[in-house]
Symmetry: D3
Subunit: 229 residues, 6 copies
């Protein structure tokens, strides 16, 4: 049954913003290397970086009708997440829909398909992570669902999950775990800051991380020169 | 027989420029969603946007001899369209050829293969849409033809057809249809402008486009909350 | 046997810098069209252009331990070259390692796999050519070797070979050939400069290169108009 | 937390076998075009056709340790479903593991990664659907989980869901829906049988399905000859 | 305007069969290396080899309605050629349509998209060359055209052109050129037969083709042993 | 300088045959997981399995002239290894060349590009591992070299190295290491035979390999049922 769920839970706004400040790589590591969307999901302009609550759209191939339906369910701070039920490179989304989302305070779009009007989207500074850029239009004939769990670029995303996206890609954090993951992300950042200072000052990672003994134990050998072939 | 056709028809200059101003996505929609080249055709620098008359080159794989032949057939306002007879990622084109084309007033290059010297091409502001960036050189051993119909990135292009290219990709308009397509493109733009204003002001596409009844008729259901799984 | 070779030969610094100034396309042509890495090796930010001595890393899939080992073997003017023994899109490298390399004067990274923290790497102006951008982390469990010959993106690279990289991709020059290739590159540049001036002034390549007779001999025909189909 | 769940629910055996007899295309249609794995999942030998209860494995890239763990959780009639947490083309599975699974009555393997020993697997008539064939080995260093929900080739699969696989690919049916989907599949088969007889006898689909009026209404025009271009 | 052209010209049946007997590689060479469809077009079962007159279908992405329309336009000896207007991996075609085509004497299908029911199609010995195998269904909502020129897998195909397909792929021959191409193909076959006999008897191609002088002239050098590195 | 080396070292024939009997996966493991060509190298017919001494060809893109030159350097028991200097999907090789190689006792072809006449090659039982099947012909204009080290599908191959190929792909063994690798391969086979017997009899790999303690130490947890979500 195709359906639109009107009410979804959302994570705490400060937690969401905190995750966005940490960025994709840190959040992904902090939560145990899960939740990362496939690397073909790329920003259409460099430097975009957002976090928000997922409003999800399960959508047929080559048909964008349900995105129009989904706009109504979005509120400020959300990220629209669009997943075709079968691979499609069609251009589901352009500047008109972006204007509509911006009017509602939506922070960006994550779509495992194509988008168009990328120059205008860039001028509007509307953040988009997509698999394709393609001017090919879609039809409006077949239903899908809004705010159901979807698999987007290889990851399961529930409505209200936190989506973090930047130049490294897109990661999803379960809504229920958002607070804990933020803590772990900040702990990781703090640890990395200390390491970073030492590395930037010229200390070697081998020493900072104390790797030498383990390498020797595994059998690594240092030779002054390459042996004769 | 390999041949070079010296005289080709061209569309009206004002029409060509008008189509360029409308852009790829609008022109593609306006002419009934035909003529769009494959989405792997990408600009080598962002923001390039051109329209011009196609001077076409049918060229063997890994051999760029005929591009040199084609330059002589180009005039101001043209776009060079290069299609290998078999897929090739070789770098057929670099800054020397670009300088030669610029000297003749050519507006850009559309090539279903590779190009090189992209930094210099970017500095020269010479617009290129290509499938690959590759420094790999080509030979000059085998003939092809200039100003014959070619299939380029999946689309049939005749010499003199109008090629429109921007950040969304490349679309071809039959020369004979250029005037009509421009009218349809402008009509579409006008209609979109009105819609855009309403959407930017916060009206929903569901209402602007009057979609609600059709969605209900198809069976879409709105629920306040997700049902128990 | 997994090993780290401490002492590698390096080419003359002035020669390396000269090759860098010539750029990838010219060097590749000048040495007879060999040594070009696959075109999927792309810079993570446009405009980066380097040359340096290769410090090579042969590394298991999804495991970046040996990069930490390799840092210690790098000195100012080097380029780190990382080649997994089996294809991997994992993110082997991020801003911490970049800071460590910058502290040693390393000029950049060439990696036939993924990297992450690309926004920070861009802000640091640390040049990277990679096959993927991917936040997916790696483990530190399995050894590899440093400063052994590696196949990276389809090319054999020895420690101490000269690696040249720019917006056109990456090319390797055998250390022993570096001087000769620089001479040939400069000769090619000089020749191209003369040609470029003539082409920019509007002379045709057909005349500058004297191609007309060969084209006619091969059978090319110029027709004033397209024949009836 | 990495975990192995020992007890999973399974669908009724007769229902599972019934779904297998219907085949992937029919089941996929019957359940409303959901649950189909990506088309890169191909059988390693033609003609294999199975259905069974999913025992799921979430597994790190390039590491097959958890497959050994999963074998113990398999029983007769099961299908092992393996999903790396990040794309990997490594060969996770070969004839030794297949022998172990056959000894337990497992019906086959669905793996969104690589396998090896394909000649022996073919001789053993052990059915495998994989994304790659690759002799590249994996390590046994990092944990994953068994019998947790996984995303495999784009589809969410729960332990105990019914997996149907044949030459057309792989489809998953929610365990709770298996009975209903079997009924719908059989209804579809019955309907198709009647249509097939008429089509094979030379009746046109246009008439069997009664499409002519709708085509005319949409504006389709039949012309005796192609108009002049 | 979407249209169905009822009457198309066809080449002589004996010529078509003659081209089929020559096979794809020979015909492609004989007509000057043109007309070859992209190599991603593969037979769904090995050994299929056909030639026939193209009945062409231009079809929207993810919509197979027009295939049903096209069946009516097919007659014995035809090959159905289906080209989506935008890339699609959906399964447009299955065993029901195959039965319908077989009832009309159609020789096979060439489709630049996906098909399903491949086991049944194989059992029916219905020849299909497709880009994908995919169970994903299509809708029946949008019109296309039948018997108009289409670009299929990179080649322009007119209704009535001769399509030749075997394990090497698919090649199209212009209907008007079919007789001449058959003559050239047979001439090539005769020449190859003589060469084949000599090569099979152990004569070297270098001598049979008389290549030695040209190789020496180009500068090739034979050395008894590899020089010291 | 383009050159043909006439005399190359070869490994002992019995060792080569022994490696062939062990197969790709075993040899690859036995020599420490090195030497495996990329997984896109696939046999054109299933069941082919060979081993032989590499006669190597470095060849320009889209030009097969040097294969004719290489035939003369082949002797009984050799495998022809062809590597374009830049990626090419052209069909470099067909049944005429296969006949010529068979007349010399050559065991097969490994080519990181395309081949054609696959039906005839299959009937001739000539083994080929290629990246593409493509009828597209090549030219004979540009030199390459025979019996120089080449990078083929990601691996460095020297003339006289042992190439082993079967349904799992292709692996190269350094000529100097062939004897030792054969011993290691046989040792691995012996060990696997014992394991295989136990696994086929129903013992678990967890017990045969003694993995349980390590899994527990890493933190793996067995639960009787899935926890509440």
């Amino acid at each position: 049954m195709n359906r639109v769920i009107r009410t979804i839970p959302r994570a705490d706004g400060a937690v969401i913003d905190g995750l966005g400040a940490c960025g994709v790589a840190t959040v992904h590591e902090a939560q145990g290397r899960i939740g990362l969307l496939a690397p073909y999901m790329r920003p259409i302009w460099p430097g975009a970086a957002i976090a928000g609550s997922a409003v999800t759209v399960s959508i047929p191939p080559c048909d964008n009708w349900m995105i129009h339906v989904a706009v109504e369910q979005c509120q400020a701070g959300d990220v629209l997440v669009v997943a075709p039920t079968s691979d499609s490179d069609a251009g589901y989304f352009g500047d008109l829909l972006a204007g509509s989302l911006l009017a509602r305070g939506v922070r960006g779009l994550v779509i495992a398909a194509g988008v168009r009007d990328v120059r205008t989207l860039t001028e509007m500074k509307f953040p988009v992570w997509s698999r394709f850029v393609h001017a090919q239009g879609t039809v409006k004939e077949t239903l899908g669902s809004v705010n159901v769990p979807v698999v987007c670029a290889g990851q399961l995303i529930h409505p209200g999950d936190v989506v973090v996206a930047d130049d490294d890609g897109v990661v999803v954090v379960r809504r229920q775990d958002a607070g804990a993951v933020l803590e772990q992300s900040r702990a990781r950042e703090a640890k990395e800051a200390a390491v970073r200072a030492r590395l930037n000052a010229g200390e070697l990672g081998l020493d900072v991380y104390g790797m030498r003994a383990a390498l020797v134990k595994k059998g690594l050998v240092w030779l002054d020169e390459a042996p004769e072939p």
